[in-house]
């Protein structure tokens, strides 16, 4: 069992700070939901882990005590971290099949493509399409499938349900639910879709203005209604 650990992570865009000392752990096989208002810093948190170049990161990020911070993105990816970015970023010049095959690494079993296509809804019938021919939701599906191609240990999912039709979300929920148990994947799931997180995550972290304001189990969150008022909905004043 591996563990992805962030301790006291600070991130900034140029001179503007967006995360202030975030600590968080994610075990393999576990799903942790990241909730927070728009602009709270969820995306920034995921970008910090994958070392997206626009963010400058300070603090510790490690898998099994092996430091990730400072490594180039591709090395982090090879340590078993996959990323579903919030803006999909499908390679438009490639076909969907090429998009997926490109992400297929040696660590993954040879039939990974078949597995992924079987588990992620929608992509099966898109394989021969070119990237630029996809609708918004189709891009989202391809982006998710691509992240799974390397048989990662951890997946950072940034709003995977955005733009997907309800039926697809339902199917996606089923297939994501299987990932931890069947493949031992740890998932960090940034979402606005509360129900989706509630159905999948064991633990939840609430991000608010660049800090982790609360962590706890999903059930605690569902019961503690003032948490939602304080950190997620428009209810109360911001801290």
């Amino acid at each position: 069992m591996s563990i992805l650990r962030l301790s006291d992570v600070t991130a900034s865009y140029g001179l503007a700070k967006a995360l202030f000392g975030v600590s968080l752990t994610l075990e393999q096989g576990e799903t942790v939901g990241l909730l927070g208002r728009n602009g709270a810093g969820k995306t920034t948190l995921l970008k910090s882990v994958i070392a997206e170049p626009s963010v400058t990161v300070a603090g510790e990020i490690a898998i099994d005590d092996r430091a990730l911070r400072g490594l180039p993105t591709y090395r982090i990816s090879r340590h078993g971290v996959a990323w579903v970015p919030d803006d999909r970023r499908v390679f438009t010049a490639l076909s969907v099949r090429e998009n997926l095959e490109l992400a297929h690494t040696k660590n993954a079993p040879a039939d990974q493509l078949a597995k992924v296509v079987a588990s992620v809804p929608l992509v099966g019938r898109l394989l021969s399409r070119r990237g630029y021919e996809l609708s918004g939701g189709e891009q989202q599906a391809v982006s998710i499938a691509r992240a799974l191609m390397s048989a990662p240990r951890f997946v950072l999912m940034d709003e995977p349900t955005e733009g997907l039709a309800p039926l697809i979300v339902e199917q996606l929920q089923e297939s994501i639910a299987r990932l931890p148990s069947e493949f031992g994947v740890g998932i960090l799931l940034a979402e606005q879709n509360f129900a989706f997180v509630a159905a999948l995550a064991q633990r939840v972290a609430i991000v608010s203005t660049g800090r982790v304001a609360w962590t706890g189990s999903t059930s605690e969150l569902e019961n503690g209604s003032d948490l939602i008022d304080r950190y997620l909905s428009a209810g109360a004043s911001q801290p």
Partner: protein, 294 residues
Amino acid sequence: MSQLVSVLLSGVAYGVPIFLVASGLTLIYGVIGVLNFAHGAFFVLGALLTASLLGGATPSLVMFILAVLAGGLLAGAVGLVTEMTVVRRLYRADHMTMLLATYAVLLSLEGASEVVWGTDSRSQRQPELLAGDVRVAGAAITMYDLVLVVVGIVVAVGLWLLINRTRSGRAVRAIAQDATMAQAIGINAKTVLLLVFGFGSLLAGVAGALMAPNVAISPSLGNAFILQCFAVVIVGGLGSVEGSLVASVLVGIAETAAVAYAPVLTGFTFYILVAVVLVLRPQGLLGNARVRRA
């Protein structure tokens, strides 16, 4: 009839070497999106090294091939250094900044070659085996041009396969579009870009070495070719090797046809062709507008 054959033939003989010179540029610009002004300098480097290794004398075929390879390798090595010291830092900047950077590289390399090889022009002879001319359907073409055409086609096919049929080719296309995402799926973008730039420079060097027997070689030789190279790559369509080849041959045939049938237009056909293609097909002959939009 024989004139038509001759026009077509010499058109190809004129056009394919342009493609050969542009091939490295096609790779670097077409695939990774860097408009490399320094391309002409890498080209000249190849020519200068080859000529100075062979000392202008008529070499044996083996010596010639070795010298051509050496020219290519030198250009490739300088290309690697350029990528590591300059280009790499600017991938995230815009087109124009990259242009300025590669222009600076061009000046530096041109200046450095002036220091090393002087400003005098020199000449180089091809191996005896490749001298003389051959007749095809009544039209004369030099043996050496024939060789260039063959090499050009081999390079075109090879590049096409590399880009479209190999995993690394796909990786390169992915990096070109979104280097961060490519890294996020485990591609070592830095190294791939380095190798592509190096390989593009190597192609430029080889082209320069191969063109050496055709021209007077001096550090400023690149200027005579760079314009056509840019045009050919862009008219062919972004990222399209086959487009560049077609564009080069069209350029060649247009000019030879003008010489034969419309002498007033000589020297202008190239410009007319480029303007017409761009006005009718803004994305270039075989370019794909939709890929660009994304």
